[in-house]
């Protein structure tokens, strides 16, 4: 913003203003100076957005027509209804299967990621090359969406919950590996030095110096992941890897919308119950001073 001089200003004021301008030169320069980069970036971002809207066929008529259809669908979803008691039983069984997939996938990933995390942490790894490759492998595992892993594992072991467990295992291995190695790097060295000063081997230093600091953090991360995995496990059925997702996909394709909203609500309720239970366990393990 340029500074305006009030019309009746005395010369003394003008002079002091000059002094001010000199002293705070940065604040008196035109607003675009030093912001040109950001300005161009904003214009570029807006242009990419407009190009995207055009090329991805997001026309006004399509959006309005679709919104009308969506409103009609939402109205037909109400009230949520399971259909019949036997169907409700099937849904509950599928939900239990979903939880089973989430539990097995999370646990398997945690067990495998635990030793691997030490290779990927700067302070416990064998050498830089091992650490680099461990890190990059975890990144690779995380870079692929869980549904893609599910599809691949279906090819390998066939349709069913086993493929789902393996898919969860793959994507969790990536995230656990990263989280565990970061937790190991953040561990305090002093207990390790203390243990080493008694003449202990490096394995004992790990066991008595690092592990006691680490376990509560890892457990809370695993519990947190279990909650988000319940959500993931409920969708991998869409491609046929077990759990409630298959029912979800079928109901949308056959437009049984009241049952669909019932199943979605059931998933949300289950996830929030799991969330509650996990945070209870987490607090009892690590006390109130949670992460």
């Amino acid at each position: 913003m340029s500074v305006q001089q009030s019309p009746g200003a005395a010369p003394a004021v003008a002079e002091s203003q000059l002094a001010l301008r000199k002293r705070y030169a940065a604040h008196f320069q035109p607003f675009y100076r030093g912001r040109l980069g950001a300005f161009f970036l904003a214009i570029l971002a807006a242009m990419v957005f407009v190009y995207g809207v055009h090329s991805l066929d997001m026309s006004y008529t399509r959006i309005v027509g679709g919104l009308g259809e969506l409103c009609a669908m939402v109205l037909r979803m109400l009230p949520p209804h399971p259909g019949s008691w036997s169907l409700a039983g099937i849904y509950v069984y599928a939900m239990v299967e979903t939880l089973a997939i989430a539990l097995l996938g999370t646990l398997l990933a945690a067990i495998v990621a635990f030793p691997l995390g030490f290779f990927a942490a700067r302070n416990t790894t064998l050498n830089r090359v091992v650490q680099f490759f461990a890190r990059r492998s975890f990144d690779t595992l995380r870079g692929v969406d869980i549904l893609i892993w599910a599809l691949i594992w279906i090819n390998v072991v066939g349709l069913g919950p086993f493929a789902g467990v393996l898919a969860l295992f793959m994507s969790d291995l990536g995230s656990f590996g990263k989280l565990f190695s970061e937790a190991i790097e953040a561990a305090d060295d002093k207990p390790v030095e203390g243990v080493v000063s008694t003449g202990a081997s490096s394995l004992s230093a790990l066991r008595f110096g690092i592990l006691p600091q680490l376990l509560p953090v890892l457990l809370s991360q695993v519990l947190y992941a279990f909650e988000s995995n319940t959500r993931s496990a409920s969708i991998i059925g869409i491609v046929g890897a077990g759990g409630i997702g298959l029912i979800l996909a079928e109901q949308i394709r056959t437009l049984e919308l009241q049952q669909l909203s019932f199943v979605v609500l059931m998933i949300l309720a289950t996830v929030s119950v799991i969330d509650l239970v996990c945070s209870r366990i987490r607090f009892s393990i690590i006390g109130v001073r949670a992460l």
Binding site: G52, G66, L67, L70, D139, G143, L147, L151, L255
Partner: protein, 285 residues
Amino acid sequence: MNQPSSLGAAYAQAVAAKRRQVWLGLLVLGVCVLFAGRIAEISASKVFDNIGSFTSYFYRIAHLESGQWVLSDPLEWFWGWKKWLALMGETLLMAYVGTVLGATAALVLCFGASKNMTQNTWLVFATRRLLEFARTVPEIVFALIFVAAFSLGPLPGILALAIHTTGALGKLFAEVVENIDMKPVDGVLSSGANWLHKVRFAVLPQVASNFASYALLRFEINVRGASALGFVGAGGIGQTLLEVIRKFYYADVSALLVLLIATVMVIDAATERVRHRLLGQERQG
């Protein structure tokens, strides 16, 4: 001598109690795992039976149809690179448009969800529940419903991404806004500013870099998510990926996976650099 021994006994008792608790926890976990294994039809023998198919599958996706190793003939391996790059570009564009739409909606909603900006507790409660709903329902479920309503194509995918992004970013944004320094807000209000002035001159300067950083992080997550949306017909590279995986075009599976992982890694590295710069600015200012 009585004191230490009773102390020792108390210590032993405490340790034993702790041990008992751990064993009990492990027992409960073990029962749960056995039960889960029954439900999910998994047994140790099944795992061992399948070890052969694990290795043979990964052997096959690493070899061309002619039986050569994929790297021996990269041109043959990436035979469809023009088509695939175009699809990858579409996927990136979907993620971008979805992130921009979602971040804009989150920017509008986050002030309603933060206690220091909105006095009406009901409004805060309602906005928070709305955001929670938007982020708890998985985006692929939204995509399935939107494909039924808007028909096939990238549009339902973008909307699904946008809604999920609104929920996730709205929560993070609201947390940032709740942690701002309120003194600038008081200062601007004392000069007779209206709500818009307050947000523009007192709140946004404090939160902009954090918002941008979170939005970039979300963009990276959305690129990953957008690659799977094609499975339900919501555009992007997922449709092609589904086809080559289902039809057992082994070399194509690995080529597409390599393309996808490389793209995600590049985006990852680029956004991380920008985010570090943004957060660095924050610390200086």
